[in-house]
């Protein structure tokens, strides 16, 4: 049983990575990140079921809490970014790079 869960978790993780890299819409990028977290949670729960120990569920709970705080920050970031550039395109925010000739 636990193997199936692990396989599912790996698949979801890969889907999350694909979405993270391929999309230009920052909201979709954020949701892919959340998907990654969820995949990890899934695998944690599976292991917890296998071991019969609830410790993994506690970890999972904490991960969810952190995801919540991350969501709050992301949202305020969206508001700020949208206000400054008026677009939701990830390619527009390139101030990290250097001025290329």
């Amino acid at each position: 049983m636990v193997e199936k869960y692990m396989i599912l978790s790996i698949i979801l993780f890969s889907i999350g990575i694909v979405g993270l890299i391929s999309r230009r819409n920052i909201i979709v990028i954020y949701m892919s990140v959340e998907l990654l977290l969820n995949a990890v949670n899934l695998s944690l729960i599976a292991i917890s079921a296998d071991l019969g120990d609830s410790a993994a569920q506690v970890i999972s709970l904490i991960v969810i809490a952190i995801a919540a705080s991350e969501a709050a920050l992301f949202m305020s970031l969206f508001v700020v970014l949208f206000r400054s550039k008026g677009s939701l395109d990830a390619n527009v925010f390139d101030m990290l790079g250097d001025k290329n000739d």
């Binding site: 391929s22 979709v28 599976a46 920050l73 949202m75």
Partner: protein
């Protein structure tokens, strides 16, 4: 036997909805299919008797986080011109999945090849709120406190970030 069927249905649901999520053009469509993903993951949690987390997932993830996302999406009043013009979205998706494929396959191979299932017999109240709460407040109290500070920081941070700068 039943478990397997339910698991298969739920797994398929999760995968399909997550694929829809990453490939939808409008963010609202992605958000809505994400809700489906989250609920099915919660169901998967429930399938292994992790009842507390099943509830927590639905309440916090689907209920709070996704609601926040939907709220922001609607608040920002996104029009068509604000969305990025992703001409090659499908090619990108295909290409990236090709790159990720070996990664996934290797991991799956690792998992299936190795002998990881221990198959302990869980106790009576495995996964119940009583059990998890006991663990949380005895062994894991330090992370619990830290998480609360973390939430506080996130709160202050988000308020600061979104102030109109002066």
């Amino acid at each position: 036997m039943q478990n397997d069927i339910i698991f298969t249905i739920l797994a398929l649901l999760t995968i399909v909805s997550s694929i829809v999520m990453i490939s939808a053009h409008r963010p609202i469509d992605s958000a809505l299919s994400f809700i489906v993903t989250l609920v099915s993951i919660a169901a998967l949690f429930g399938l292994v008797n992790a009842t507390f987390l099943f509830a927590v997932q639905i309440i916090i993830y689907a209920g709070a986080i996704l609601t926040l996302i939907l709220f922001i999406i609607m608040f920002l009043n996104i029009k068509e011109e604000n969305l990025p013009d992703e001409k090659y979205k499908n090619w990108w998706l295909l290409g990236t999945s090709v790159i990720v494929l070996p990664f996934a396959i290797i991991l799956i191979k690792l998992v299936t090849m190795s002998d990881i299932s221990v198959n302990n017999i869980p106790s009576e109240n495995f996964g119940s709120i009583h059990d998890v709460g006991l663990k949380l407040f005895s062994q894991w109290v330090l992370p619990f406190e830290l998480v609360s500070i973390h939430l506080l920081v996130a709160l202050i941070g988000s308020v600061t970030l979104s102030k109109r700068g002066n």
